[in-house]
Symmetry: C2
Subunit: 206 residues, 2 copies
């Protein structure tokens, strides 16, 4: 019986190797499970707007900020700054600055900002918007990976919101708030939206 089990174990291992060879793409370092985990995390992320009172750990918040700063930027300018808010009074002042930001139950917020002093000079300056948006998506995905909920509340280019958020946080002239990412431990569990529309993909040319 022992020999039989050994044989089936070897056969199973051989099948697994054979199956992995059929995959055209070699998954990243930590293997196929890692590939699936990343894709699943992207596909299951959805906006969360209701939170429990449990705070977010400082280490977790820092890792999420590091994930934000790992985003690519045009000409590697990294033209950004981040305001991480966990104090109730400041969250309330942001809530007043942007009533759609749903901060009443949030335990944290990250305000992703462009730093125009670090941005490309001339007509390429606007690339900061794309750079900070990529950082924002990283923040949402990292938060979701920790089981946290988050929602991207747009600030720029809505002029009134920009002025209000700048005032609430004391941002200098060159610092433009792109959004408020509202965060916390989720108190709701909505289904992720299925946004796959095959007709929005054009192959080769339009």
């Amino acid at each position: 019986m022992k020999a039989y089990y050994k044989f089936t174990a070897m056969a199973a291992a051989a099948l697994m190797i054979a199956a992995s060879c059929q995959k055209q793409e070699t998954p990243a370092a930590t293997g196929a499970n890692s590939t699936e985990a990343v894709i699943e995390n992207i596909m299951t992320r959805t906006s969360i707007r209701q939170f429990t009172s449990e705070p977010i750990g400082a280490d977790t918040l820092e890792t999420i900020l590091k994930a934000g700063m790992a985003a690519p930027t045009a000409v590697n300018k990294q033209p950004w700054a981040f305001v991480a808010v966990t104090e109730r009074a400041v969250l309330d002042s942001l809530d007043a600055a942007h009533p759609m930001a749903r901060l009443s139950t949030a335990t944290a917020a990250i305000v992703v900002c462009g730093d125009l002093n670090l941005a490309i000079e001339g007509p390429g300056q606007e690339y900061w918007i794309q750079d900070c948006s990529a950082a924002s998506e990283n923040i949402l995905l990292a938060a979701h990976a920790y089981g946290l909920g988050a929602v991207w509340c747009g600030v720029y280019p809505t002029e009134e919101r920009v002025a209000n958020v700048k005032a609430a946080l004391g941002l200098p002239e060159n610092i433009i708030p792109l959004n408020i990412i509202t965060m916390g431990h989720p108190a709701q569990n909505p289904e992720p939206k299925d946004k796959w529309v095959p007709s929005k993909v054009h192959y080769q040319r339009w």
Copy 2:
């Protein structure tokens, strides 16, 4: 002996539960390894500009496009369209349209576009840039998860690049190319940039 094994198995399970309770954040559904895989994938992604001749599988390309369309969008407008290019002649025409896109060895490209007909009307129209940037970051992260290399080559708002890419792909008036995401199996293995600058994080207020 059987009872002993049962006991140790139960003890191990209890220890695992206890260990998981110490974590302040509950990792997403598939567990702590999944959290680490997502964070690692974000932190190790870097721009790849040299590729082997091995093509990208059609299924993989479609999953990467699905990941793009899973990004959040302002007021859920999903104001985007994607051109997926794998034919050499079209890649060459894109290379001519944007010489910095490094398409000479690429086996695929995804051109992420804003669809102004689907965008918010009025002053909020520009949110399409942020929506398409979030989709682009998802595409880069999904590609990296499959062990593929990619690089985000900015098109919009550089007017000449926008006109050239529109002409190369036959894009209608309302479709604005944000970027060309150049892709393929990597033929280089550069170290990811360490972009963590703690002084760019401000706590509570500026």
